[in-house]
């Protein structure tokens, strides 16, 4: 057998990602014929086989990243006939094992039948006759009663470490049922007061992986990079304001049905909040700016990014010229952008050039949150859920529609006082809404 290893592709390269196997186990391969592909640092490389023979086994799956010199496969140079694709563990019991293995002691009774590969070490010095005496059938078979067993019963027996041959079956044809196992286990635990085998945490079922590894999607990787980059770039601070949305809620109630019939979409809180944010950005343009090295770039136009959750990620399409739109126009843009974001029909210019962002996690029930700034912007507003809440007004308790608005801002550029002045403006616009809706 020849080991195939992850090659070292350069001094600074310590690992590589196995991206593709070009041969399947059991396939014939010539020396120097491409065997697999790896990826390191934006370089994809075909790796030729170090030997001619049959690809006996693959040890590293596609998509995995391993260190250099890790054995990724084995090649049987004999070109062996029966090597085929059989995994190492599935030792065929039909053929009697050759001499050294025959000398092996059978696996101890307690050992679960996970490793049919006999342990040849112990017995080798002893004359074969001494150890290879008994025609004892292999232990695993002994533990199985005659009749058929359901997977559930097998699983229970394994977890409770029971010998099923000792369990009396009461099911059809003497079959062992779940109840039989439970009854037997119950009786056992009573009789055998000192639990002889450690009844500790059951071993995980053999052969079943405890984790599942899946490569991140490219979009996921981009999101991850962007989020970390943003956290690294900006000095994130979040301030939270409580806003009484009662007035807006009433307005919304009044226009809801009309919106649905006249325009075919719902009227939500988001366009009101966006409109209020625009008013705040107009008054405090630093929140609508971005940083370029040591320069502050003021944007004369207000383009608001609205975070849209996708199935496996998110995207932030932009309402361009948000300051030129009223509640109807904003709602129309939001509905349109969100729908096209989900059906992947956004045009490139529609996801670019935002100057401020809003993320509406309230629609998922969140009270408030601390959003991550969408670079190169300097602030992002998070919208919490709108709930009817008892609040104190003039020493009386009233029921109001309350919403928590949070603002994450870049403290490199914006101080807390300014951020709160901005939020106070937004709050004031929403609480004393005076504009017509349509």
């Amino acid at each position: 057998m020849t080991d195939v290893v992850m090659p070292q592709m350069g001094e600074s390269i310590v690992e590589g990602t196995l991206t593709k196997w070009l041969k399947k186990p059991g396939e014939r391969i010539e020396r120097d014929e491409p065997l697999f592909e790896i990826s390191t640092d934006k370089v994809d490389t075909e790796i030729p086989s170090p030997a001619a023979g049959t690809l006996a086994e693959i040890l590293v799956e596609e998509g995995k990243t391993v260190g250099i010199n890790t054995v990724v496969a084995r090649i049987d140079e004999a070109g062996g006939a029966a090597v085929a694709a059989q995994p190492a563990a599935a030792a065929a019991p039909a053929e009697p094992p050759p001499a050294p293995a025959a000398a092996a002691t059978p696996a101890p009774a307690a050992a679960p039948p996970t490793e049919p590969v006999a342990v040849p070490v112990v017995g080798q010095a002893v004359p074969p006759a001494a150890t290879a005496v008994p025609a004892v059938p292999p232990e695993p078979a002994d533990k199985e009663p005659a009749g058929p067993l359901s997977p559930l019963v097998r699983k229970m027996a394994r977890e409770l470490n029971l010998d099923l041959t000792q369990v009396k079956g009461t099911g059809a044809g003497g079959r062992i049922t779940k109840q039989d196992v439970e009854a037997y286990a119950g009786a056992q635990s009573q009789s055998a007061a000192p639990p002889s085998p450690p009844a500790a945490a059951p071993l995980p079922p053999a052969g079943q992986a405890r984790t599942r590894i899946e490569p991140m999607s490219a979009m996921r990787i981009k999101i991850a990079e962007h989020m970390v980059m943003s956290q690294r770039t900006s000095a994130h601070v979040t301030t939270i304001h409580r806003v009484d949305m009662t007035k807006v809620a009433r307005l919304r109630e009044r226009h809801k049905a009309q919106f649905q019939t006249a325009y075919g979409f719902n009227l939500t809180y988001l366009p009101f909040i966006t409109r209020a944010a625009v008013a705040g950005l107009r008054q405090y343009p630093l929140l609508n700016a971005s940083l370029d090295g040591q320069n502050i770039v003021y944007h004369n136009e207000i383009h608001i990014g609205i975070a849209v959750a996708l199935e496996n990620g998110l995207i932030v399409p932009v309402i361009r010229g948000a300051d030129e739109k009223n509640v109807l126009g904003l709602q129309r843009s939001i509905v349109d952008l969100a729908a096209r974001a989900r059906s992947r029909q956004l045009k490139p210019e529609e996801v670019a050039g935002g100057t401020f962002s809003i993320t509406n996690f309230g629609s998922f029930g969140s009270l408030t949150g601390t959003p991550v700034i969408n670079q190169p912007q300097v602030a992002i507003m998070g919208v919490g859920t709108v709930d009817k809440t008892p609040v104190v007004i003039d020493d009386a308790i009233a029921i109001r529609s309350i919403c928590h608005l949070s603002l994450s801002f870049d403290h490199r550029l914006i101080d807390g006082a300014l951020a709160d002045q901005f939020m106070t403006k937004v709050k004031q616009v929403l609480e004393s809404w005076s504009e017509e809706v349509v």
Partner: protein, 219 residues
């Protein structure tokens, strides 16, 4: 084989070449290079609008649907280089070095760094302070990507290479990356430098010869 004091590298400035033809030429040259029939090559060219997907790239990174791409006149190509999705188009200097790395360090990490160095040195000539961002292969100017790199290696012979935005219309990049999430891109033109592809290519070839320690032969 031509006669050189150090190693030879044939420079071929091909002008505008469609992606498929350039790929075929690369395959041919790489195959010949493996057999030692030709010396190292540096191909410099420009592609018509095309979006290409690396071997391990994800289609979902192409933001626009086929219909939108078709309408915008952008071709699409899945290819065998490293890296994810990228865009090539007019105003972008594309470089495909076909080198046998066994004659030069046998080190893919060093190769990629040297390609970056070539581009950084070229940009320095134009007064642009470009650099690297650790773990993000490519060349960057103030957090914006100005050149992308994606390489294929077979028996130590390189193909594919780099793409430097000289006067690229950057809006085309929006077709492939959700902009709210990706690192932004830039170009020499966006940074206020006016230069033709031929001129930038000529300067780049000089730095390439110096950094890869070879003698550049114009075809």
């Amino acid at each position: 084989m031509p006669d050189c004091t150090t190693r030879c590298c044939c420079l071929r400035q091909l002008g505008r070449v469609d992606y498929a033809s350039a790929l075929e030429l690369q395959h041919q040259l790489a195959a010949d290079r493996k057999q030692g029939l030709v010396p190292d090559h540096l191909l410099l060219l420009e592609h018509p609008h095309v979006i290409t997907l690396g071997r391990n790239g994800h289609l979902e990174n192409v933001l626009a649907g086929d219909d939108i791409l078709a309408r915008a006149g952008i071709a699409f190509h899945a290819t065998d280089r490293g890296g994810d999705v990228t865009y090539h188009g007019p105003g972008q200097l594309v470089g495909y070095p076909i080198l046998d790395l066994r004659d030069w360090k046998r080190d893919v990490g060093a190769y990629v760094r040297a390609v970056e160095e070539t581009i950084i040195a070229t940009l320095t000539d134009y007064g642009i302070a470009a650099g690297r961002i650790p773990k993000l292969t490519g060349v960057w100017v103030g957090g914006r990507k100005i050149a992308a790199i994606g390489v294929h290696l077979s028996r130590w012979v390189t193909s594919h290479g780099f793409a430097l935005n000289v006067s690229t219309d950057l809006s085309y990049f929006h077709y492939i990356v959700p902009c709210g999430l990706a690192m932004p891109v830039t170009s020499m033109a966006a940074l206020g430098v006016r230069a033709s592809l031929d001129e930038v290519g000529a300067k780049l070839a000089v730095h390439f010869a110096r950094i890869f320690d070879c003698e550049m032969l114009e075809n």
